[in-house]
Amino acid sequence: MTAQDKHLVLEELILKSMDGTIGHEEHAELNCMLGCDANARTSYLGFIVLYGELLSFRQNALANDVFYCPQYVGQSALWQALAEAERTAETIPIEKPQPVNSISPINKDAIVRKPHHVSRLALYTAVIATAALLLIIGYVVTHPRTLPDPTATVTGQTQAVWAETTAGGVGDKSRLYTHSTLKLMEGFAEITFDSQARIILQSPVEIDIEDYGQIFLRSGKLAARVPPTAVGFVVRTPGASIVDYGTEFGVTADFLGRTEAQVFEGRVELRTGADPIRFAEARKLTSGQAGQVDQAGKLTVETRYQPASYVRNLPAAEHFGQPGKRIDLADIVGGGSGFGTGRQRITIDPAFGRMSDDFRMFNRKLDPQRYCPIPAMSYIDGVFVPVGGTVPQVVTSQGHTFSQCPQTTGEYWMNLTNYPVASFSGDAEKQPEDMQPAILNGIQYGTPQLPAIMMHANLGVTFDLDAIRAAVPGTRILRFTSIAGLAGSSEHKEKAAVSQLWVLVDGQNRQEARFVQGQMPSVMFFSVDIQGHDRFLTLMATDGGDGNGGDWTIFANPALELQAAP
């Protein structure tokens, strides 16, 4: 290593030490250089004197005058001007530093020391300035800054299961260190940085804490809220970087190398490549926008904005949907991600696919074979009223049909809902509060802990498995499971209402069950394996051939079971 190289290394280590970004190994290297090399110590002392002097301008509020033109201070154009200046600046060979032109060569022979005349006032001024400066310098010498090792804190967990490899174990209030890797296998965790930036990790997710203002999202999903105190927070992924400008945003990095960013509030910049400094392309995204960098490094902003696919606040511990374990399909009916972000007491109208809280009852027919796609919902492909008969029933937006669909009345009694209530009197004007809970096998469903999808015959709903897969990177969908049956009441136990429940995959019947009011079994356990190539899952209720009266059919605890991808 040449003397010039050594000087550069030393300068870099000193600057890092001053910045507080020096690592322990680098600090040890600096220690070694200063201990072994007198020239390094001279350079170090010279540097910190200069450092202290430059800082003292700041202490004395002179900085604007000596460093920079005051009119630019605080203007956003500064950054652009600086960036432009740096970009367009000529390369300066540091090996041969140029002398300052304005200073003439020194004739050392002509130096004659003159006696100093010191006044008490001048000395007092000097005393104050010198004391301040010396203290700054002295503090720097004796307190070289290293990384503030603990950088963040685990401020909350919900059903969290951490990988055994996660260093030191993680619990509530755990302090997290820079350069540590965290791997969350199940559940959620909230991490708050000392800068007050906060992230919600949704498993499976793996991150490295790189420093107090930067993380590396190896894979998985997170939502970040960055207050003004932490502006500049950076999320790096293997394929992109997201630089925050004071905002709330979500990031997903999948195993295929794609990175998605969604901005809920404020503004971020999505940059191609894992290096936030050197990148080929960047786009600013504002509230309500989404962008993606694909495997090839191509940046697009046509990505669908799906705020509900991110959990932005730590959910209650007892949610049925658990990242890494199972997706709650009732939450998806409520517009959520399957992990508690949806709304309760939501209905979906099979005629237009609209979400509402309309619990009215009516026996209504739609156009036969009509399938209603719902592009506004992220994970629901569409809804329909099964009619069956001679024409195959269309059950997906891609035209999959269910040829064995039995003929029904073609009528539906009420909207699809994630709030199972029933009016056994048939009073069409009743509101949900006035209706009875629909009890299935003695249990009242319809809560975040015991979710359900009520589908009074005749109704069908189709979930988009590909869209769901994309939202849970690092996992694969194993199977659909549910406890399903016919809700009963004392009034209806005497009536022989008959209904059928179906589970279809890409239009193919995978499991069905027929229920008769008042007869056993009142419920069945549904379990349908899902393969990687399966695209659509359809749940359907038909009237059993006796009309749809009393067909209060329910899919309780409807779940897509997940497993970590190999």
Binding site: L8, E11, E12, L15, D19, G20, T21, N31, A38, R41, T42, Y44, L45, G46, F47, V49, L50, L54, L55, F57, A63, V66, F67, Y68, C69, L78, W79, A81, L82, A83, A85, E86, I94, P97, Q98, V100, I103, S104, I106, K108, I111, V118, L123, A126, I128, A129, T130, A131, A132, L133, L134, L135, I136, V141, T142, H143, P144, R145, G213, I277
Partner: protein, 137 residues
């Protein structure tokens, strides 16, 4: 800082005109610094004690000329090009780390380190020369 200044002022009569004021100030500051160090220092973020002693032993001649250096530095800063002054402004007034500067300026970190090293070296040489010239006059 205030404590040191106050102590120096109250002990000003102990300063003997004609002796080296900087050296006297260094003694005062060193006493205060060591006291502060003993009170607060976290062993994990300190230099080894032998390194501190070496620096301490070699510091005095460097600190001696602080007062004239400050005036010289101000002059030297005014001679820098605007781009270099802007960098110093970001670093020393705004308090940005090199990493943050690189991020905001969309420049490689190593490039910023090199530029900073060049500017520091330029200033150091300029100050040394300026102080020497002032001593001549």
């Amino acid at each position: 800082m205030q404590e040191t200044a106050s102590w120096m002022w109250s002990h000003f009569d102990e300063y003997k005109p004609g002796t080296n004021f900087g050296a006297w100030g260094v003694q005062v500051a060193r006493y205060k610094i060591l006291k502060l160090n003993n009170q607060r220092a976290n062993p994990r973020v300190r230099f080894n004690s032998d390194v501190v002693h070496l620096l301490d032993a070699e510091a005095e001649p460097v600190f001696e000329k602080i007062s004239p250096r400050m005036q010289a530095l101000e002059k030297c800063l005014s001679g820098l090009c605007e781009r270099d002054r802007q960098l110093l402004f970001l670093r020393y007034e705004q308090g940005l780390t090199v990493k943050k500067m690189a991020q905001l300026m969309e420049r490689p970190i190593q490039g910023i380190y090199k530029t900073m090293a060049r500017v520091h070296k330029l200033l150091f040489r300029c100050v040394r020369q300026t102080v020497t010239i002032e001593e001549m006059n």
